[in-house]
Structures are given as C-alpha cells and as structure tokens.
Symmetry: C2
Subunit: 315 residues, 2 copies
DNA sequence: TTGTATGCGTTATCAA
DNA sequence: TTGATAACGCATACAA
C-alpha cells in the first residue's frame, strides 16, 4: 500500500502537493500531471483512516434500518444511495432486526468510526440517539419520529395515506371497514388509523373503534389480526392494512378461512406476493423518502446548523 | 468527544494505561477501575479512525451482496453477522444490484477504509478482486467462485442441490422434467443443471438438453422461461427451478396460462410468496454459508496465511 | 506493571 | 503556487 510520501517522492514534489492534487486545490498543471501519473503507477489508494482522523469524519454514511426484508426499507435504501453516491459518499447498511440494542450498537459504531452521518429508520420511538446528538454528529430520522430527541425528521403523510386507502374502499361500496395497523404510540400506525377515521367520518360513516386492530407491522401479526376479526364475527366488508408485510398475513388468513374481502394496503407489495384481485395497493414514496433524508443529511454534513426541521412528504 | 488523554488525566494515569485497560492488557485492578469510571464519566468513545490508522485495520467487515431483495442473501447476511458480532466486528452491508462497477466501488472503499475484511458474494465470475488481493487484505468469496483470483471460497454443493430437487420430482412420478437455471458459465447455475442431468441419468431417464432453459436468476427471467417452455409446447410434466426468485415468476407464468406443474425449487421461498401446493422447496443453508464464510474470514484476519481454501457445504 | 515517546498517513497552517 | 511541519487520537516499543 503506497503512501502519500511515496507518491510525492516519485513525482518529485512534497506530500502536501500530492494532497492538494487529490483534493482539488490549486496546483500547477505540470506538477498535477506528474502527481497523477505517479499515483497511478503506484496504484495509490489514500488511507481513509488517516484522512478521517485528520478531517474528523469519514466518507461513509450509515443507513440503519429495522428490517432488511421489508421492501419499504430496501426502496428507501435505494433513495439514500442515489443521492449519497452522487455526493461522493458511500452508504453502508446496518440491519437491526427491530432490536434496540443492536440499533444502539450500530449508532455507537457510526459515532466511533466518525462516519460522516447517519440516516436512521428508528426501530422504535424509544430509539436512543443520545450519543450522536450529544456529539453533534449529523443524523436524520426517517419514516418514524423518535421521541426524546430533536433531530431532522423526514416522514410521509401517514394520515393522508390512511385516508386515501379508506376512501378507495368506500368508493367501491364498502361501509364497515376494518383497520389493521401497528402498535399504539407508533406514529406511522397511529397516523394511518387516524386517516381511516377521518375518511369514514368525512363520508358520513361511523368510525367503529372496535374495528381497529393493533398489530406489529409483521406478517404473523397481520395474519393473527385478520383471524381474530373473523373469529369474533366482526361485521366487516373491507379492510385497510397499514403496511404491506402485514397484508401478506392478512391475505393468508382470509384464504385459510375461505373468505375474501376487499383490501387496501398502504405501501408497495413484497416481491412474489400474489395479491388477491380485490386488493388495492397504495404505494408510499419510499425511495423519495430516502432521497430526501439523504439530502437533508448532506446539508448537515456541509455544516448547516439550523434548528432541526421536519419534512412530511405527501403519500 | 473526549480523547484518551482526557480520560488519562481524569484517572490520574498515563494514556498508555488507559489504552491497556481498554484493550485488555494487564493493569492493576485499582488503576483499571479508576480508568473505567473516568471513561464512563466522560462518556469516552475511542476514536476508531485513530485506532484503525495505528492498527492498520478497522473493526468493520464489509458484506458485499448483489441483491438485497433476494432472501438467500439476507439469510446469508444473518449468518455473517452472527459470527462477526460474536468476535467483536461490525458488519456493514453493501448492495451492488448486480452491477460490477458498484461492486468495484465498494471493494475499493473497503480497501481504502482499511476494513478488517470482506465477505463477497460476487455479482459475477468476473468480479474484480485485484485491489484487495494485491494488498493482501482478508477476503472470502461466498456462493460463487470468482475466476481470475485465488481467494478463499465457500459454496454449497450445487450439483447435489440440483440432484435432490430433480429426484424429488422423479419420486413423485415426473418423467420429463424441465430445468430452469441461471446463465451459462455461472457455477451455481451450471452445477444445479448438472445435478438435474445426473439425477435423470441415474434414474434411467433421458436428460433432454432442450428442456434446460437458461435465465437470469430473477423473477422476470423465471416467468419468461416458463412462458417460452409453454409457448413451444414442450412436453414437460415438472420443472426444477434453480433459485427461489425465479420460482415466483415461473408460478405466475403457470397461473397466467391456467396451467399447473409440479415444481421443485432450490432455496427458501421469498416472504409472501404463496407457493402452489405442488411446489417443493429445497432450502439452501444460506445462513450457515454466511457463518462459514465469516469464520474463514476471521481466521484470515487473525493472520492465517495458508493458501486459499475452498469449502463446499452440503445442500 | 506503568509511563514516555514515537509513528501510523493525512490535511492544514504557516512561511517562503 | 509550493514546501516544511505540526497535529489528528491511538497503540506500542522501550525504559523505568
């Protein structure tokens, strides 16, 4: 591994000049040329540990997500990568499996490695960002808003998403619409349920709270929710499902029971999911969410010190 | 961000002693205790850029995969993480989307960042590992064997996998079995097709090469392959499918044509995929593959300098 | 066992 | 514009 000194020696210049060429500071054309060819001949790769130490941050952006198998997060990842790469940063993915301890670990590593910044899709509202925040490192939360900390946040309009999904079912004649959503206290879950409520109310329909089922945003939870609904003979003629992973479970429960029900699902469907014909998917702008988060992060990395800002994308 | 000097000052010891406490070298119990509490009070996080510079490598392991949406690779990722974390390394995921240029980029970054090592699931046999190899950095290839380079390789027994899948169909009475596999020259694709051939031959059945369809391991490819087979009226009564992502497409093509065919699929099925009843899935030990690769990598990181070794896991 | 001093490879400051 | 040099924070060789 050649160092900057070896390149300098071979080009007959000082290490400082090599550094300047590599970093785009003004250098005479002939010197720059000599440096470039010396670097090429030696197959010189700058040592980023040294650079990070000196500059106080690396060129890595951590993207911390709770579930690598959820297509929403993989789409989001693409958005982050698109804009980060454009700006010369590399994105590394950290999968927490919804585990707060693992999330903490990764955030700690990102801090210790002096990564340029972090885009975090929090595993929970109780996610602990204190380390990064205390150190003043760039971080933006996406999808969910963490409590306790004031950081930049990029979310979608969950209420609108819930409303649109519900309206689509109403438009098809549904009157008693169940709402299968995530845990209480989770803003994505609560917002979508609120949209369901709003759509029903606006349509002059009763928003029967007993038709709101709280689940866990996972496949098994979706299945159990629908099974419970069927078991207690709830008089539903359609259902809004707050994310696509749960929709898979819901569809299975229905099929298992030999039933069929118009479904409106918030989010893109997983690859391979054979959706029933009466299922409406309302895509979420996952990629755009990631891109926006990354853009905000880049602003922070470039030194923006404005107060934390909250951005809500239309559904 | 506190430094080792501040911790040392507060504990009334030298920086070297702090370093020793943190790294587990022998230090008197009382000093160690003082250091630990000083570190805690200052919320000291060692600067890994500095450590990496000094030690010549970081505590990050890069896992470079071609398709983050393929459940095989996410399972593999879990295996890598399990053993890497156990050993104190953090795993960062790099998704290349089957793009050799992006793969190269990530490998370059891993080298420049002086990451401890790389587990690579190559996007192609033509993957360029020259940078890492030339620098003598630890790297192990998994799933596919890259040409051109001699590195540690961990794969599954693809031939056995293909054979088992085919045998399962033969056992159910199938006689003319199609084989939908990946591109020629890709060892996973070729091996599985070879297993298909072997099983048929062993069963005294003809291995009709016109029933081998070369596709791309992706959903669309699976669909097109089956559509082509149906379109030309190939006399098949079952099919072996070399990976689970293609199986989704195949199942759709069949359903679209109003047909049904016993299917044997190599690999775990994607979440949400509603497999037809006559589909047999033959799981691949993806997680174990990742774990083995990580173990081999750890040996390299600890200084093993034996010649490159090749490990083939049973299917 | 502990401390001192040095160097890892860069970038930035300062002089020239 | 260019070069000499210090400093980033840590781990270790060496001395005590």
């Amino acid at each position: 591994m050649a160092t900057i000194y070896e390149v300098a020696a071979r080009a007959g210049v000082s290490p400082a000049t090599v550094s300047r060429v590599l970093n785009g500071t003004a250098v005479a054309a002939d010197l720059a040329e000599r440096v470039r060819s010396a670097a090429a001949e030696l197959d010189y790769t700058p040592n980023r540990s040294a650079r990070s130490l000196r500059r106080a941050h690396s060129e890595l952006i951590a993207l911390v997500i709770p579930d690598i198998e959820n297509p929403f997060f993989t789409a989001l990842a693409r958005g982050v990568e698109d804009v980060a790469r454009e700006a010369g940063f590399s994105v590394v993915l950290c999968n927490t499996d919804d585990d707060l301890a693992r999330e903490s670990d990764y955030l700690r590593v990102a801090l210790a490695e002096r990564m340029a910044g972090v885009v975090l899709a929090p595993a929970s509202e109780r996610s602990d960002l204190s380390g990064l925040v205390a150190a003043g490192r760039p971080i933006v939360a996406v999808d969910r808003a963490p409590h306790e900390h004031s950081v930049d946040i990029v979310t979608v309009d969950n209420v609108a998403a819930g409303r649109h999904a519900t309206e689509a079912l109403i438009a098809r004649g549904a009157r008693r619409i169940a709402c299968i959503t995530g845990p209480a206290g989770v803003d994505t879950a609560d917002g979508r349920a609120e949209g369901w409520r709003a759509a029903l109310t606006e349509a002059g329909l009763p928003a029967d709270e007993s038709l709101v089922v709280r689940s866990d945003f996972r496949q098994g939870g979706g299945r159990e929710s629908m099974e419970a609904l069927l078991a207690r003979g709830a008089p539903v003629d359609a259902a809004v499902i707050a994310n696509s992973v749960m929709a898979v479970g819901v569809a299975r429960a229905l099929r298992g029971a030999g039933r069929s029900l118009p479904l409106a699902v918030i989010g893109d469907l997983p690859i391979g999911f054979d959706a029933p014909d009466d299922l409406i998917a309302l895509p979420l702008p996952a990629r755009e969410l990631g891109a926006s988060a990354a853009r905000r992060l880049l602003e922070r990395i470039s030194g923006d010190v404005e107060p934390a800002r909250s951005l809500v994308l239309p559904a």
